[in-house]
Amino acid sequence: MIEIENVRKSFGQLEVLKGINLTVPKGEVLTVIGGSGSGKSTLLTCINGLETIDSGRIVVDGTDVHAKGTDLNKLRRKLGIVFQQFNAFPHLTVLENVTLAPRKVLGLSKAEADAIAVKQLTHVGLGDKLKVYPSRLSGGQQQRMAIARALAMSPDYMLFDEVTSALDPQLVGEVLDTLRLLASEGMTMICVTHEMKFAREVSDRVAFFHKGVMAEIAPPDELFGAPKDPDLRQFLAATH
């Protein structure tokens, strides 16, 4: 379970998170929508400790992420994250991209790591690209590789930060299909996204962020069907 309690975060003068309260139970698929600068991406990087917070608390399975003694490297093993920019490691093959962390962080043997990586890469449809360098892959393939790379650490939670925003329109579908697959398998996921149709279809709940505040959170039928927050209504009108 991920518990977010009254989290505040500023970059200089700009307060990007103004007291967020949110609990994500195991097995839930939560999507987060909202305009640029609404703080939704920042929240994800705060959850895995890549960003610090100014006040409040984020607790993952009982571990306070931003407490002093917390071993973030250990915590991050259970929190997979995939970014908007795919961040493929260009000097490693697809297979090596995926096996590196299991070998160096989890201490698996090459054979063990290879077996996991082949399984995950096959899972995301890249089983035939093992020996290829990322520069030879399309954006969609690189993003699916990044998903496999995160999954190879057997995380309990997956965080997706606008993973289709940097893709050509015709490549968005293949990545969303991968996310759908994960959701159907019961992975706990928080997806920051601009894909409304996708959010509507896969989510257990959808959260709408506006100017650093979580303005509304509800099951998709309710949030899209009968939005209560005026800003959300405006946002939905503009994106449809």
Binding site: R76, R77, F83, N87, L100, A101, V105, Y133, P134, A146
Partner: protein, 221 residues
Amino acid sequence: MFNYTFHWNQALRALPQMLDGALVTLQIALLSMAIGLACAIALTLFRLSGNRILGGFATAWVEIARNTPALFQIYMAHFGLGNFGIHLSPYTALLVGIAFNNAGYLAENFRGALKAIPDTQTRAARSLGMTSLQAFRYIVLPQMLRIAFLPATNQMVWAILMTSLGVTVGMNTDLAGVTQELNARSFRTFEFFALAAVIYYVIAKAVTLAARLFAARMFRY
């Protein structure tokens, strides 16, 4: 107006001697690169450390090495340090001078290479649970080496050519030194130096070619 008779035989007879000199040249160049590399890594770390004294020291080194004549750097190592009672042989002074120069250029090269790698690479590595040291070792360093490799090759060629400055501090066993001595005995300046130039050229080209082949094998992405 042009009645010079070439005496190539005289030069060619001295070829074995000159090739022995070329080996010394190559040895100094290689050693100066090894020392220069080690110093450049230290200088790069100093500059990254955030410590003002270490950072200032490294910056001063890089600035002097890159903006003063290599000849002066070698002179200082031999005659300059001599004034303070530190007497380096021509061989050592030449080695020290060139290594100093190499370190300055290589440190700047490393800094550029480091800057060229986006922070998001480290971020991605850290998000997979790697420590900052692991992220550097497995993600940043290999990419940095690729970017820095070809400019470092140029520095190696430059180091080979710089060894010829050794004649000014009395170096007489490297290719330039041997050639200079042969010239002093025979006054066949054109022939000896032309032949020496060809040998320098061949060494420099061979190093460049070897580096390209190595890079093609090492950096396949």
